[in-house]
Structures are given as structure tokens and as C-alpha cells.
Assembly symmetry: C2
Homo-oligomer: 389 residues x 2
């Protein structure tokens, strides 16, 4: 039986080393060798590469464990910037990451996607460059990541359906960014990137999770074995157009009737409230009302959570994830999360719920930024991501 051990890809180990140093799970060469189960000599090679690359530096010595002191390794935080943005309907969230993958600063700015890609991207790019310049680091922008609201063709970085973003389809967003920055660029759907970011903030590379972004729209991202799952046509994670009995004949933007989004999305809530004579214009308005304990809005939000939970319970039964994360505006309400949680626990098989966690995303509004940075770093440093913690 010719069965030589399948040599792990080198990029992968490099990334694992960075993570261990970042998390403090292993801070010296020998510790890394032990944790990774790899020969000390191999670690030494990788560390040499990383120091030459300017990502890792030695930082004095640690405490002895009875023999020679370990030479403590530390990540250099000034090797360059990864600039990322999460684009919403009315504003964009911009973030700056170090090459070692930590989020340094964020900023929100108003944008209007309906003006088309050129002006929107111009605004974002300028803000990114300003932020990078202001940070004063000697090195420049090594990579750019962008999260877009809606289905994205990852190859070109384009929005796939005309939908709410006129002029965007076919523009070639990824190419535009690469030209503009002269650096690696990555574009993906916002729910996908949020899922990727949140997953790796909480779970390991052998686990599975679903992250639902519930705001004005509802989208979700799927992580299988620590990697983004996009499905056959890149449309995986659609929960918003699942039929819900309670939605009746309410028409949906997709052409069908009775979709979840008509009654459980922020946009749906706005419409429902308006019908009852409550003056609201945006999802934020609705959440404000709930914050002020408005009984109608509160009931409605809770009900929306129950409907979402109904849809998610069948998805969770099927997919059996380790964790279900909720993010987006509506997930900021504990009430909403509680409603989802109770409905999912009620509707799922015990074998599926026994270890299931249902929680608000810890990375909150930065989830998408983290995911985008991760994809960019994957491109820069190697391929698939490392063994966790």
C-alpha cells in the first residue's frame, strides 16, 4: 500500500503559524512545532520566511521552563494595510486591517449605490486611501476587499441581478479595484463575507455554521469545514424567498408570493407598519420604535423573528451546523434573537439541537469586514485557512 502522508500545503501551515502567534496560543518556535505537530526544523524555515516578509519579528525571550529560554515571536503590525469595505444601501463601512489580520480602525460613510458603480466606488476608494495614508505606516495597501449587497459573481466581482443596484451588473468591480489600487482585490456578497468573518472569530476550520444577516433584506452565508460554501451557481444561502404560510399572497420582488422577506425583513416591517398608519421609513426607524417600547413595532419584530425561525428550523435540520449566527440591524434586538432561537429549538430534531448555539454575531457590524480581510489574506499568503487555536 503506497500511502505516503499527504504533505499539507505549505501556505496552510504558514497561516496556522500566524494565527497561533496572533492568538498567543504559541509564541516560540518550539511551541509552534509542538502545537502543529511538525518538525522543529520545518517551523524554523517558515519563521525565516515570515521574518523576511516582514510579518514576524523576535521580541526578546520568554520564561525558561527549565532550560534555554524561548525566543518570543511577535507579529509586526506595520507591514502594510488590507483595506476592506462593507457596502450597504445607504452607507458603507470601511475598515483597515494589518497584514497579520487584525482590525485596526473602522469608519462609516454615506454612499448612494443607486448612483451606479463609478461614483460609489470612487467615494469608497478615496476614503480607503485617506484612512491608509492617515495611519502613517511606511508600507502601502497590499490588498482590497469589498462586500456587496446582493448575489455576486466572484470571478468578476459583479452584482448578478439588476435588482436594487442599477448599472452595477457587468461593470467589473474587481478589475476596477485592482486597477485603482494596483493590489489584490476580492469582491463577494455581504452575507457570505459576514459568515466567513464570524465563523473564524468563533469556530474552527473543521466546523460548520450559518450566518443570517437580517436587516432591510435577509441573506445568509454558509460555512462548510471552515470554508465558504457558494453552491452550484453562487446563489447558496438564499432564505429570503422561502415561502411562509403566514405571508399569504403578499407579492415579493422575486415575482412569487408569500416569501419570508415580505413579512420578516426590515423592508417588510416598514411596509406593514406603514399600513397600520405608523410613520416609518427605514429599518432603523422600526428598531427605534422597538427601542422606545412601541407595542405594535415590538410585537411585529418578535413575530418576524418567529417567522425567520420557522424557515431556519428546516434549514438547520437539514444542514446541522455547529452554530447559527445572527447579524444585521434586527439582530441587535435580543427580543428578535430570542424569538428565532425558541422557534428553531422547538422545530428541530434533538440530535441537531443538542450542541447547537444560536447567537448574535460577536463581530457585530464588522463581520463582513473580517470576512473580506480573510479572503484577501488567503490570496496574499496562500490558500485555504489554517488549523485553529
Amino acid at each position: 500500500m503506497p500511502m505516503p502522508l499527504p504533505t499539507p500545503p505549505p501556505g496552510r501551515q504558514t497561516q496556522a503559524i500566524i494565527e497561533h502567534i496572533a492568538h498567543g496560543t504559541a509564541t516560540s518556535r518550539s511551541e509552534l512545532a509542538r502545537v502543529l505537530g511538525v518538525a522543529p526544523s520545518t517551523v524554523a524555515l517558515r519563521i525565516n520566511e515570515l521574518t523576511e516578509l516582514g510579518v514576524v519579528v523576535e521580541d526578546g525571550t520568554g520564561v525558561s521552563r527549565g532550560g534555554r529560554k524561548p525566543r518570543v515571536l511577535r507579529l509586526r503590525e506595520d507591514g502594510g494595510h488590507i483595506m476592506v469595505a462593507d457596502l450597504g444601501g445607504h452607507h458603507a463601512r470601511i475598515g483597515r486591517f494589518t497584514l497579520t489580520g487584525s482590525l485596526v480602525e473602522t469608519r462609516s460613510l454615506p454612499v448612494r449605490v443607486e448612483e451606479g458603480p463609478e461614483p460609489t466606488l470612487r467615494t469608497i476608494a478615496d476614503a480607503m486611501k485617506a484612512m491608509a495614508a492617515a495611519s502613517g505606516g511606511p508600507a502601502g495597501i497590499k490588498g482590497v476587499g469589498l462586500a456587496l449587497p446582493g448575489p455576486v459573481d466572484v470571478a468578476t466581482g459583479d452584482v448578478k441581478l439588476p435588482s436594487r443596484m442599477p448599472d452595477w451588473p457587468g461593470f467589473g468591480v474587481r478589475a476596477w479595484l485592482e486597477r485603482e489600487f494596483g493590489a489584490v482585490a476580492v469582491v463577494d456578497n455581504d452575507a457570505n463575507l459576514s459568515a466567513l468573518g464570524e465563523h473564524h472569530a468563533q469556530l474552527g476550520p473543521d466546523q460548520h455554521s450559518i450566518t443570517v444577516k437580517a436587516g432591510t433584506a435577509i441573506g445568509s452565508g454558509i460555512i462548510v469545514r471552515g470554508e465558504l460554501y457558494r453552491g452550484a451557481t453562487g446563489a447558496a444561502g438564499d432564505v429570503t424567498h422561502t415561502r411562509v404560510a403566514a405571508a399569504g399572497d403578499e407579492p415579493c420582488s422575486c415575482g412569487n408570493t408569500g416569501c419570508l422577506e415580505t413579512i420578516a425583513s426590515g423592508a417588510g416591517l416598514v411596509r406593514q407598519l406603514a399600513r397600520q398608519g405608523v410613520a416609518v421609513e427605514s429599518t432603523a426607524d422600526v428598531l427605534d420604535l422597538v427601542h422606545k417600547a412601541d407595542p405594535i413595532a415590538t410585537t411585529m419584530l418578535r413575530t418576524a423573528g418567529t417567522y425567520l425561525g420557522e424557515v431556519l428550523s428546516s434549514v438547520v435540520n437539514f444542514f446541522n451546523p455547529d452554530c447559527l449566527f445572527l447579524t444585521g440591524g434586527m439582530a441587535s434586538s435580543e427580543l428578535f434573537i430570542a424569538a428565532v432561537r425558541s422557534r428553531v429549538y422547538e422545530g428541530c430534531h434533538p440530535l441537531v439541537t443538542q450542541n447547537l448555539r444560536i447567537e448574535a454575531a460577536r463581530t457585530g457590524p464588522d463581520a463582513g469586514l473580517h470576512g473580506a480581510a480573510r479572503l484577501v489574506l488567503d490570496q496574499i499568503l496562500g490558500q485555504s485557512r489554517p488549523a485553529g487555536h
Copy 2:
């Protein structure tokens, strides 16, 4: 940027070679090198290993393409047996595969799982040994695979829930088989193995599929990137306990009410027909009635397909597979499949259905056997499976 090409695991290539020879996609060393995009010398090495292992032999020469004739390679079909079984409630299907992965013969025999693991496994093992002995090949049984109806702990090979199989949980099926045969043994859920078998009979290693086994019970298996996806607790693929409005308050074995299985499974149909005074005892009886064009049974089967389609449409929307396969007794009715298909196409987003195929499994009742054999061969020959066709 230290980015050496991630050397593909050697087992993988070996398997790819076998598949190409088996499918006739490449029958000589040079052709293999071309198709696999690998150096001729490397192919020569692999072929040498395989001939020494007794899996491949040379079989004369082929036609010249203007120069030296290629030496045609062929798989040896007498290198040993892989014996597999798919265990149902009342009968087991047994199959014999060659080491090269092709199914040679099958046989069904009655068993009674409710008598417990020891007698059931005894019956199956004896039948396997008899079949292998009768085939007269010089070599023995190199591996054994078993598909069980119900959730399985893959490590031990045990059924997880008491459910319909008393005395089975905690028995250690895998260990029993390995002791009995002195060979590699693999045990998994029947829907999982059917999914694996059907997927690789039709799709490639970078595609995704769902296979639903609709018979007396309803189960499903999920294939992500050509590999079996089991979920966090090994319970992934549960669609049977999804709530369906039409099921009303019908109590289910899981303790909840309104589960799909109460109105769409074979068992559910039997119960519903019995209530209407139609004398049926098994799923087979129901299908017989449909075959005889019994109006009540036919309508009921079609309705069951619609309900299954309703549940699957939300699953398909979420998972966005390349293909949805249907297997099990009820999938033998084209009526049933048509009902599922139309409901899914109706309820799913166009982005998801544009390339989606919904079909009866081509491997039919042998799907589970193929999947089991594949898992066993993975264990014997290497790890993950090869690049297709």
C-alpha cells in the same frame, strides 16, 4: 511570496488513474499523462505500483497515431472483493465490487433488524462470504461496507437512536465486521451512502448534490465538493421532520406534530390509506396500487410528492446544489418525481433553478452499495477521491 505549488496528495492521483482506465477516458500511459496534466514519468511510477498491486494489467497495444503504438492498460477484475450491504427494515441488499470499483453482482435477502444486531449481521456476513466464495476469484475479501437505516455514529458504526432498531445502539457494528472479516470495514447511514454513490455516478468532485431517499421513511444525504457532508453531529440531511402546514396535528415519532414524514413517507401513506378503508400494509402495497391506477393511492402519492417538493424547495434555495436525486421506493414512480420537480421549480429562485437537475437516481436501488464501496475503497487506496472523467 513563497508559494510552491501545493503538491496533490498521491493517493488522489492513483484513484484518478483508476477511474480514467475504468471509464475508458484514457487507456495508455501517455494518454493518462495528457489528461491528468502530469509528467509521463510520474504516470509510469503510478502504473508500476498499480500493476504490482494487481489492479492494472497491460492488454496488448492500441492503434498508432503516427508513431509507436500505445500499450493499452486494463483493470484486473480479480484482485479481490469489496463486499457491501444496504440494510432495510425487512431485507438487505448485498453487492460484490471489484477492487477497481465496479459492481459485479447483487442479491437481496430477507432479514429482521428487530431481532438485534448479532443475528442480523450473522445473516449478512454469511451471505457475503458465500457470494465471495462462489465468485471463485483467488483473492479474498479486502473490505466491507454496510449502510444502516437511521443516524449512524461513523466512528463505531452504531445506530444512534433507539428508534426502530432495538439492541443496535452501542453494539459496535464496525468492530464486529472488522473482526468477522479481518478487513477494513465502513458503516454509515443509508441515505448518506446513496448520496455518495449517486453523486459520483453522475457528477464530478467539484459539484454539490442532495439525494433524497423516499421510501417507508424519508432521509437525505448531502454531498459538498464531491464529499459526504455529515454536519456537526452527524445528523445532517434530516428533511423528514420538517413541519408542513398540511400535516396539521398529526403526531410524529419524533414527538413533534406536523412533520413531513407523517404525510409524505411510505409509512404515512399506508396510514392515510388505511384510514380511508384501503387495505395496505407496506409501502410496496401502496406502490402496487398506484401501478394498478388506483385513483385514491395515485392522488395520494402525487400529493406526497408535492409536500416533499415544498420542503425541498426551501432546502434547494438554501443549498443551491447542481443536482437533486431521488431514490427509494417512491422514486420509482415518475408521477412522484414530476410532482416534486414541479413544486421545487415553482418555489425556488431562478438563480438556483437555472442549472438544477431533478432526477431519479440512475443507480436505483444500488446507490447505497456504490457509496459504501466508494468509502471502503477510499480507505484502502488512499484518501479523498479523484478528479473526474
